[in-house]
């Protein structure tokens, strides 16, 4: 939407899971993260990204129109597939306002947290409920 003055003042949060293409390199991933951070700063989008076991798990927050524009781009993005929305809800205020895109890596220290919310040894966000995703993200960022 070009005329943003017609957009209502509505903040939303959207969380999705997807699978990275099997041939994604570490360089390609860090390029994705940098690009997201740059674009998000311009569009007043904030959020949190987990990349583990070749899965993306991401929360994005911003104006309803901006977040839905980004969803269109994400669905069209060939670098990942099988995107599934976990949750979309209206927010009173942002939860990740300090980050254009916060990032949690699959480190040894984090391994216990991933297991805390999983029934499986290997991390698989497709199995998580919206509530578990919220808990996991919040603990990983502490």
């Amino acid at each position: 939407m070009t005329n943003t003055t017609l957009e209502p003042h509505i903040l939303v949060s959207m969380t999705y899971v997807s699978r990275a293409n099997p041939d994604m390199s570490a360089e390609e991933f860090s390029a994705i993260l940098q690009q997201a951070q740059a674009n998000n700063t311009v569009n007043a989008i904030t959020g949190m990204l987990i990349f583990n076991n070749n899965y993306f798990l991401q929360t994005i927050e911003g104006s309803r129109a901006q977040i839905n524009h980004l969803l269109d781009a994400l669905i069209a993005d060939q670098r990942h597939y099988d995107l599934q929305l976990i949750e979309t809800r209206e927010l009173r205020c942002r939860e990740w306002s300090r980050w254009a895109m916060n990032y949690a890596s699959p480190t040894k220290e984090n391994a216990a947290l991933y297991l805390k919310y999983s029934t499986t040894v290997n991390f698989n966000p497709y199995l998580l409920s919206a509530e578990s995703v919220r808990g996991l993200m919040s603990e990983l960022s502490q």
């Binding site: 209502p8 959207m14 969803l71 099988d82 599934q84 979309t88 809800r89 209206e90």
Partner: protein
């Protein structure tokens, strides 16, 4: 990764999260090149597909906008969302709400059709700041309550007609 393996992985992802019921509500505008949208055909098609895929829901259609709520297994709803985003019979799709639910709201309908009539201006006004109906200016709660209200009104009207026919 071999293609066969990849497709197997995709299938398994689709099965994961099957136990979760998701309700997704979106708004969109009609394609202006397509003035006479064939409502009957769109509805019949949706109802047929939804029945096959275990999807239930409600669809509000007015002259300019669609408001639709769909509910079903998380992977199934997401597959439908990807199709909806690409469907050129409407545009500017905005997901308003997407939430896990314990039980379905529209379990009796593969797609309940709701059309705000002239009598419903009162309900439009109830949930709008301005005079004209524009779901892009409405909050999640307003949109959800608007669908609920239209559904209630329509049911009252239907039962009133049924009562008359028995007299």
């Amino acid at each position: 990764m071999e293609l066969a393996e990849l497709s197997e992985k995709q299938t398994s992802n689709r099965q994961q999260g099957e136990r979760i019921i998701l309700r997704l509500t979106y708004i969109s505008r009609h394609n202006p090149d397509n003035k006479n949208i064939e409502v009957t055909r769109i509805l019949a098609q949706a109802q047929r597909n939804n029945e096959r895929n275990g999807i239930t829901g409600a669809l509000v259609i007015n002259e300019d906008y669609f408001i639709q709520s769909i509910e079903g297994a998380r992977p199934v709803i997401n597959e439908l969302l990807r199709k909806l985003v690409k469907d050129d019979r409407h545009f500017s799709l905005q997901v308003i709400e997407c939430t896990e639910i314990e039980q379905r709201r529209w379990s009796q309908w593969s797609m309940k059709h709701l059309t705000p009539s002239e009598h419903d201006t009162e309900h439009v006004r109830k949930f709008s700041a301005g005079k004209d109906f524009n779901p892009y200016l409405m909050s999640t709660t307003q949109i959800v309550n608007f669908i609920e209200t239209l559904s209630e009104v329509q049911e009252k009207r239907t039962s009133a007609t049924t009562d008359l026919s028995f007299q």
